[in-house]
Symmetry: C3
Subunit: 343 residues, 3 copies
């Protein structure tokens, strides 16, 4: 058989490392496309001059673009037969990605647990994105529920990794040279700095974007993510293409510019849930909540821990879960991350 | 309040200069996207070799791409609460923009006049686009009708700027080094030169393009234009997304290649009216009229003053206004500009 | 008349060479767009590092991207008034195209034959794509049926070129320096090498992509292909935009990654038929058949001759033609090409 059927639950072993295929060199083309698909305006990722004013050699690729490239490569090996994308943890951006860099990915299986129905199980992987020099640029844990192919395959010994609920502020990696002491708030678009945000504060990002099939497919393909369900309208019974969860993450993060224009760099992904599916025609909005604050050793650089919530039409303001403790049906995404912001 | 509500009429003062946020470095990515979204074929903007044959160091960004980048930055400060985009005047491209350049924008308020209903007023701004060296690359006047927020705010003293109806040919800026004396008409696509066009001549550009939601949103976002009405299908009561007027300008200009292939560079924007709104599903066509002709001091370089009209399905040939003096409902755009063409 | 009406059958003369307009410099932007529009994952075209590991200086543009750029330039002169695109033959990629290269096209008329109805005729052209150094990067024969404009124009002497049904393996041009002896099969995505494929073997590439208007127009415009029928929904009586046949070729080739991930480089186009039209909403799938195998003199480099078939929804597995010898209605494309693959 020449084609890749994907891996099933029984094909994973704790401790094995999977080298994912198809390395990718990124360029100004990927950057332009990212800004064409998402209303992304954080100045550090828009202007080489602004980035140099912050101590970086040039404007890096959007942190989520790096995430999508690294993630996309894992799909054929990790989630082709996934039933559900269950969570993220311990994600950290370790080094900016610049045009001309070549990224590849590898994942180590760090946990396995068969479900009681014997038909599927949860697979935990730690994925690393590496550049052409072998430097790790991104590291995160993801777990998915994967179908079994041979139902009589024996259940593996259950191994559940110990995962931190939040990346501690002391573990955040500030890019080398980053310096916000001469930060230009006028060019960045807002005057609010680290000290202006309070823990518990909620921000409605106001703007909405109605999702189109062509746009989410263009984005998802750009990251070489090949999951059928995003592209093939005949795949699901209802004839609808399911939108890549990362598309919603990027859309919400870009919308959060309005209120968080200075939360420039994503440096950690603490947790994330794709609460409900998103389809073409949905209008996506976003709100944020300040969960924590921290200082860093870099000049002028503070960190905010933020909850980023994406919702669709019909959502009530700042409503996340119902009385049953479950996400409301209009909630698409609940993401917990750390961002760097001038103090 | 962390988010930007936009400025209202009472927030402007004649003489103040507004620094617009989010500078932008452009690359081959923006150029490729421009050519993917518009059927743009002017050779000077398509081929580095052709541009060098015309005395430029390489192929510049399309003049309208530079315009859109500069314009897009003004939206959050000028037109977020605009009721209508009323006009353009005295626009001049002063220096080509090349991949790698970083653009930013600033606008000076040069006129204010409250409407007699007391609910809105007209704001006149002169906008400058600047590159990383501080050189002005583009300068134009635009006026918009903006809502008042506090209806009891006193009307400012009315100031109406004196604006020239047309940029005189003597004020056109020909890019340094531009030389059409060795111009390659075969590679440019048409044999017609400056002397072949007569004042009053009308050209039907023949081709049509049916507009898609994904395409106008991709374009508009690329210029970091954030006006809600272009992206959010729930914003207008009729559930339709209004297409950015600049999308129609670029579409019409690109279609004008067929008949004006040698009208390579836009150097002045004399006037422009978005006569009627454009929506997804409309099929855009264009026609031009030669309004004036002028010589320039650059070798082999002449100038044509052109009316560029974009229409949608149902338009009669070369029909612009009805007997009532108003634009016909099928007319989308009436633009008056100067272009450089080989003599 | 200032606009281009296109050439009609009586406007061609055997032996004449037509210089096509609008040369094009390609960049990382075109590459990113190609990967955003097609699910393209062949590693040689995705990663500079991988390409260097195969002896090339960097990752070239996709071979089909080069084809589309060269082809697009011919449309205004060859197929603007074409009734049908009849075939391809003797196509060879002679030199990789890299970001920064500038392509132009020229075609020599090598055959003419008026149809017996006197209303149209077949035009055979040999098209060459050239780079900025004048090197031929691509050379192919194409024939189209073109309408006559003046029905009383005399029929030209019929000239039918002798065309080889297949480019012989001995004529394949392997890019200078190409070396698959250190090929990284893990990063390429599959382990199958030249020796693993057998003549007659058929491969179902599994995945499907549902086609969107915005995507095929973005692609087709990027190649500066201006045929009205792809862009103008009012052009055909049924209100549907016909999809550029090259869009289907690229889609099918990209889908063939799953099963032919190592068939990296296209080096010859033996034949091709656009069996049925493709429209927005169709879901495209692909299958391949190994038609022949050959060795090459380059280290570790073998060649496969492949049939690549694109089909739409409703197609039976590996079904190509009906009992009447005609293509089944679900078959969109039947392409015959040579690809280089590690031995």
């Amino acid at each position: 058989m020449k084609t890749n059927p994907g891996r099933f639950f029984e094909d994973y072993t704790v401790g094995e490392t999977i080298v994912h295929a198809v390395p990718r060199t990124v360029s100004g083309g990927e950057r332009a496309l990212y800004h064409a698909i998402y209303p992304s305006r954080h100045a550090l990722y828009s202007s080489d001059e602004f980035a140099r004013g912050c101590g970086l050699p040039q404007s890096p690729m959007e942190d989520l673009a790096a995430f999508h490239v690294v993630f996309g490569k894992t799909v054929p090996d990790i989630s082709l037969n996934a039933v559900a994308n269950l969570g993220y943890a311990e994600g950290r951006w370790l080094r900016p990605v610049y045009p001309g860099d070549t990224l590849r990915s590898e994942s180590t299986v760090i946990g396995l647990k068969e479900n009681s129905n014997g038909k599927s199980g949860n697979v935990y992987v730690r994925t690393r994105g590496l550049n052409q020099d072998g430097d790790v640029v991104l590291d995160y844990v993801r777990w998915v529920m994967v179908r079994k192919n041979r139902l009589d395959a024996p259940a593996p010994e259950a191994v559940l990794p110990e995962l931190r609920k939040v990346v501690p502020a002391s573990d955040l990696v500030v890019p080398e040279g980053l310096d916000f002491s001469g930060y230009d708030f006028a060019l960045a678009g807002e005057r609010h700095r680290w000290g202006d945000y309070e823990i518990g504060e909620q921000i409605d990002h106001v703007d909405g974007v109605t999702i189109e099939e062509a746009e989410h497919m263009i984005a998802t393909r750009l990251w070489q993510n090949t999951a059928k369900v995003h592209f093939d309208a005949t795949f699901r019974e209802d004839g609808r293409r399911l939108i890549y969860g990362g598309h919603v993450i990027s859309m919400a993060r870009a919308l959060s510019f309005n209120g968080l224009a200075n939360a420039q760099m994503m440096v950690a992904l603490n947790a994330g849930a794709h609460a409900n599916p998103c389809f073409s025609g949905d209008t996506v909005r976003a709100w944020s909540e300040v969960l924590d604050k921290a200082e860093t050793a870099a000049p002028g650089v503070g960190a905010l821990r933020l909850r980023l919530v994406a919702v669709k039409q019909g959502a009530a303001p700042f409503a996340l879960k119902g009385e049953d403790g479950k996400y409301r049906p209009e909630v698409l995404l609940d993401l917990d991350y750390w961002a760097l912001i001038p103090r």
